[in-house]
């Protein structure tokens, strides 16, 4: 089975360009839903694939972080 985190990590540069500041719901290597409200994103993915484990990736903003 393909790993959703690995897909998220490998495609993060492109995701920041498209989904900056959003969450993406990934199952294996497919983005199922995206948006700013993580609960809605999760629910949309679960409605489509109720038996699958949903991975939620928080797409960072483009600025560097100091935490």
């Amino acid at each position: 089975m393909k790993d959703a985190l690995e897909y998220f990590r490998a495609n993060l540069v492109n995701m920041i360009a498209k989904y900056e500041g959003e969450y993406v719901a990934i199952i294996e290597d497919k983005i199922i839903a995206h948006g700013k409200d993580v609960k809605k994103v999760y629910q949309e993915a679960k409605d489509k694939f109720p038996k699958k484990i949903v991975f939620l990736g928080q797409v960072p903003r483009k600025e560097a972080l100091i935490l």
Binding site: I16, A64, L67
Partner: protein
């Protein structure tokens, strides 16, 4: 147990290419179904912090938690502490987590987590959690 995660390469507007420590944890939703969440591993964070809407997915009544003041680099905030089951590589840890009412970068902090592992950072390649 040994679980390694590769650094995530990002192109920041401030510094160009940076490498971040993004890990994956398991959490349970309101129906008991497992879901996974990306977290930034932050050895400078005393506690794991999650956005309220993550708590909503889990069925946690966030504001019924213990309200505590936390200080970050740009000021202080109130967050609500709950003890929740958090899974790393399938292993469960009862973890105190602070839920912020606003949207925050979700961070994996030290409390209840780091004491269970030897954590190593290998150049800009990967980082590993080991027993």
């Amino acid at each position: 147990m040994r679980k390694c995660f590769k650094f995530a390469k990002e192109n920041s507007s401030s510094l160009g290419i940076v490498y971040r420590l993004i890990a994956k944890v398991g959490l349970k939703d309101v129906n008991g179904d497992m879901f996974e969440l990306s977290l930034l591993v932050d050895s400078g964070a005393d506690i794991t912090i999650l956005s309220k809407r993550i708590g909503d997915i889990m069925g946690v009544n966030v504001e019924e938690g213990e309200a505590k003041v936390f200080r970050g680099i740009v000021g202080e905030m109130i967050a609500y502490v709950h003890k929740i089951p958090l899974f790393i590589n399938g292993r469960e840890f009862e973890t105190r987590v602070a839920f912020a009412l606003s949207e925050v970068p979700n961070l994996l902090g030290r409390l209840d987590i780091f004491k269970n592992f030897e954590i190593s950072f290998r150049k800009e390649e990967d980082f590993c959690f080991s027993d």
